[in-house]
């Protein structure tokens, strides 16, 4: 549906964190999300991939305004999110929901599963008659493939995969348009991850959902996403127009080279990989990847490459992008 306007349009989004090193230390500033511009098309899966600390979760929370941006704009279905009052925001939240990484901490141990599934209605001030509430709970459990008897259980009686299904059911309760999935399977075994990913695929088809899907697992993101956003130290360095597009940014290539296929005939040459992510508190003035980049030239050290979109929808922030055979 490329003719429709994107569900979410993000422009020049920034989030600066200030912290102190130690109790009396100098205050330090770091930009966890840096000049991010991104469209989230309707009905598609936009994948976000990058290593720990690159700003994926911060971006997710900014998009839902669970965290206030330092500057920039986010438009959700034509509404300027960052200008909404708290009341207006609460109503809008029905349409955008988040599933968190840790199914253990996102559910309150004192409440039953039924309570957890009805909480979104309470937050929104929606009153449900008892019979209606029971129907809702049963329908939500069925949607995520769980038996109705789980309604009266407490979270500790459920496995990690079952808890994550509850997290998804709760996010679905208010029939949202956008689901932000922040590493929803990172704490689960592969067999359970496959179950959850398959469930998310099915729900997307049935309910016409739009996903922002965050993961550090490039294999998983490539399997699940229509487009892939690659982040490095707070910035988008590349947007791949489809999951099979060959990378043009050297960092994306490094990620790909570090990601092993479950196939010993496709072993990767990893002898040339070096270096670690620099500290986000003192970034170099040029390209943040320069110290680890095998393609770096002198100009990379003095200027910072901006994200530029090519005609084929492929955006890259690099002065010397890779040309694939």
């Amino acid at each position: 549906m490329p003719s429709l306007a994107p569900l979410v349009t993000i422009r020049d989004l920034n989030k600066v964190f200030e912290s102190r090193k130690g109790l009396f230390g100098e205050p330090r500033r770091m930009t966890a999300v840096n000049q991010v511009s991104l469209d989230i098309p309707r009905g598609q899966v936009t994948g976000v991939v990058g290593e720990s600390g690159c700003g994926k979760s911060t971006l997710a929370r900014l998009v839902l305004r669970l965290l206030e941006a330092t500057s920039g704009s986010i438009s959700f279905d034509g509404v300027d999110l960052l200008k909404q009052s708290h009341g207006a925001m609460r109503l809008l939240r029905r349409r955008m929901q988040m599933v968190f990484q840790d199914p253990y901490s996102s559910l309150d141990p004192r409440y039953t599963i039924a309570d957890a599934l009805l909480e979104p209605f309470q937050v929104q001030g929606i009153r449900l008659a008892r019979a209606e509430a029971r129907q809702k709970v049963e329908a939500l459990l069925a949607m995520v493939g769980l038996d109705a008897r789980f309604a009266q259980n407490h979270p500790h009686q459920l496995s990690g995969g079952q808890r994550q299904r509850i997290g998804i059911a709760r996010a679905l309760a208010l029939e949202p348009d956008l689901m932000v999935l922040d590493e929803p399977t990172a704490s689960l075994d592969v067999s359970i991850q496959a179950q959850i990913v398959t469930l998310l695929e099915k729900l997307k088809h049935e309910l016409g959902l739009t996903y922002l899907f965050i993961s550090h697992d490039l294999n998983l993101v490539r399997y699940f996403s229509d487009r892939i956003v690659v982040m490095y130290l707070g910035r988008i360095v590349e947007i791949l127009p489809d999951a099979k597009a060959a990378p043009r940014h050297p960092y994306t290539q490094t990620l790909l080279d570090s990601t092993f296929a479950p196939d010993p005939t496709q072993r990767r040459d990893i002898s040339k990989l070096t270096g670690e992510i620099p500290s986000p508190y003192n970034l170099p003035q040029g390209c943040a990847f320069a110290a680890r980049c095998r393609h770096a030239r002198p100009d990379c050290l003095s200027r910072r490459p901006e994200l530029e979109t090519r005609s084929d929808d492929h955006a890259v922030a690099c002065f010397h992008p890779l040309t694939q055979p």
Partner: protein, 323 residues
């Protein structure tokens, strides 16, 4: 004779039997992968070889663990202590459990070399810095002086590997050595471990739940399910033609390059907990090929002519004659 030969290993922890008849061998210059989902018994297998079960109130109930001709299950603790860290090194998932937060990281590597190799202070320091350089720790002589908290997770894990190497061990057991690390750092650590095996002839047991790491780094693979060996084979055979239904299902769970969306198949149900291991084949409640025999009888681990091993009533055990 293999450097390490584990046969029919069963353990007991306060009446619980988390491992049942585990067996495998590892040769010098070889990397053996032990894979399986959470709770399958990977870490307990490592603890058994290290002789550390008493620490968690457990003991070897049956079976043998032969290391370089020595029977470890009957080895007195003082002898075990001389073996541990010297000839068999153990690398755990969380580097902080192996590092002392108030001692400089270089000093901690030195201590190993002094204790096990009897090196003098300055010789130990030279030895440590040489190992750190081999592990591509930048500015090794400077990093020697750092405390653990001053280093990144990937760098701390390299220090732990340096400690493991300091006594020139013959066997390294690495229990999820990269699970907590970013992929680019994981790749570097996998590369470093691979070089040790190839260049120094170390035997490596790599415990992981990441089938990508297995495919990249291992020569042979043991697949565990619920405390038993399901299948073991060369890495190429495990991925090209897995025979055991669990191995097949496990590989089907992993997204691959060029895989069509919707083609991922999970495994229904859950890994059972030790207290609720089902009778017969422990995989039967989740197995798509289960027959009534599977619910009653434990499938024995059969050794095929090629050296492959498989425990399943139904799987095809014929081998092509050239195999």
């Amino acid at each position: 004779m293999a450097l390490l030969d584990v046969q029919d290993l069963s353990i007991d922890i306060a009446g619980i039997k988390p491992l049942d008849a585990i067996g495998f061998t590892v040769d010098k210059g070889e990397t053996l992968g032990i894979v399986g989902e959470s709770g399958s018994g990977k870490s307990l297998t490592a603890l058994s070889i290290m002789g550390l079960l008493p620490l968690i109130g457990g003991r070897v109930e049956r079976g043998t663990i032969a290391f370089d001709g020595m029977e470890l299950t009957r080895l007195p603790e003082p002898d075990y202590r001389r073996l541990r860290g010297r000839r068999i090194a153990f690398i755990t998932q969380n580097p902080m459990t192996s590092l002392d937060p108030v001692i400089r990281v270089g000093e901690q590597i030195d201590q190993v070399a002094r204790l096990h190799l009897g090196l003098s202070g300055s010789a130990a320091r030279r030895h440590s810095i040489e190992i750190m350089e081999r592990l591509r720790i930048p500015e090794a002589a400077t990093t020697w002086h750092n405390y653990p908290h001053q280093l990144s997770g990937g760098m701390k894990q390299r220090i732990v590997i340096a400690m493991a190497l300091a006594a020139n061990p013959d066997l390294i057991i690495a229990d999820e050595p990269t699970t907590a690390l970013d992929v680019t750092i994981q790749a570097q650590i996998v590369q470093i471990l691979g070089e040790l095996v190839r260049e120094k002839g170390v035997a490596l047991i790599l415990i992981t739940h990441d089938m990508g790491v297995v495919a990249q780094a291992c020569d042979r693979v043991v697949v565990l399910y619920a405390g038993r060996v399901a299948e073991s084979n060369t890495v190429s055979a495990i991925f090209a033609s897995p025979r055991h239904p669990y191995t097949q299902a496990l590989i089907g769970c992993i997204p691959r390059n060029a895989m069509e969306r919707g083609s991922l198949v999970g495994i229904p149900g859950l890994v059972p907990s030790v207290a609720r291991y089902p009778a017969g084949c422990r995989f039967h409640p989740r197995c798509t090929r289960s027959e009534s025999l599977c619910e009653r009888e434990v499938p024995v681990l059969e050794r095929l002519a090629s050296g492959a091993e498989i425990a399943c009533h139904v799987a095809d055990k014929r081998e092509a004659s050239h195999a």
